[in-house]
Amino acid sequence: MHEAVFGGIATEKLRGYAVWEPILRTDNLRGARKATTILPDSRVRHYWIDGQEVGVAFKPSLGLKDEVAWDVYLVYPPGVEWAGTRPPKPSFFMHQLHELPSSRRLDAGALAARLRQTLSDAVK
């Protein structure tokens, strides 16, 4: 993931947010801190939330009914704003959940290609 996306896209016009949330019983802040090493990039900010509130808040944006949003990757072009409490809809997303279409299952290469396209579109 890191190599394909942040390692492969050098531009400073990309920003990343990794929200680490507890899904398994063993998930905690210490684990989240260790996990930050998976995405070692100065453009990525890491957050830890001791609950699933953010995952729940993103359910409507992704069309999830049962599962909490986690292991999901949401792309936003420049200009999109997060107004109010409801998160904005992404222009593209990928996931590793059961409930969402398999056509959007995470493929790091495809995600990177989509990000490049978004970055390219933003320049035009």
Binding site: L14, P22, T37, W48, W70, Y76
Partner: protein, 355 residues
Amino acid sequence: MRDRPVLFGSLAAGLLASACCIGPLLLGAIGLGSIGLGAWLAPARPWFLGLTAVLLGIGFYLAYRPVRASACEPGQSCEAPKGRRSQRIILWSVTLVAAGLATYPSWGARGSDAPATAGPYDSTANVVTLEVTGMTCEACEAEIERGLMAVPGVVRATVDYEQSRAEIVSSAALDPRDLISAVEKTGYEALTVLPTQSDVPKGTRSGLSGQWRGSLTVGEDGKTAELVVDLAIVAGRWSGQFDLPDFGVEDYPVDVAVAGPKVTLRLSAAQIEFVGEFKEAGNALAGLAETRGNRDSLVLRRVGGAQLSEEFLRLEAVSEDSTRAEPLSASGAELRKRFNQDKAFTRLLMLLSPT
């Protein structure tokens, strides 16, 4: 001469009672200073003192007991007044020597000719504090001071038995390892003391200390470990040690080499080297740029750092921001704020589980 074993015994006991301090001196002189004889014998010192007193008491009894002339047989010390007189002279001589040896720990330090101060020094002199282990009495202080004063550049050495500390003042920056080696030659052990915040003299470069904490990712399995590096400016030089608690690695030295703007931290025990274009601004080191190691993949990032003083070094890795997991409130307001601040950027938001 059945008194002879008693005299030798009291002499030997007196020697053993003083061995906690004389031992390291003698052994140090023949190159066996580090075997720790003094520390080993120190707990038994009261017993040796008691034995000395008992044996001398027996000796005095034998030398001064009243003897009937009729009880004397040819060849015994009571036979002639001259023989008994020489026995008493020997006894008193042995008593003096044994008493001197037994009380050496008390007067040895005062009797030392080790100069605690050699010449004037100014306020900008370098000060190194060592923690000295193995001292069992005040007499040990003088011997260690003598050893430290023999190091070129040292203008004052003060050893405190009570505090287990040695304070060394030098006219120029000295390598603490040379001082530690000097202490070890006298039969004791020493460690560099990293100053605490309260020790930090304002406005000076000496004595600053701090801690830098990072995490290592080793290999493709993403195994992480906590790395703690303690660094200090000791006597004008960067010095330090590191721990890898997850691997049971503790108190290994960090070699710090400064060559212009390039600073190298060498953790030789872990075969890891950090090379950075550090800026030495005031008392700070900033900017850790590159990491070299013998591992396939090694990512080092700062996850937290202790700044023991405002003036202390700030070692910051390139990706400092990405190493912290900032706490989010239930509303996710912090994320929303950042997301909107970055409105001009293309953004990738990931919701992930740590495991």
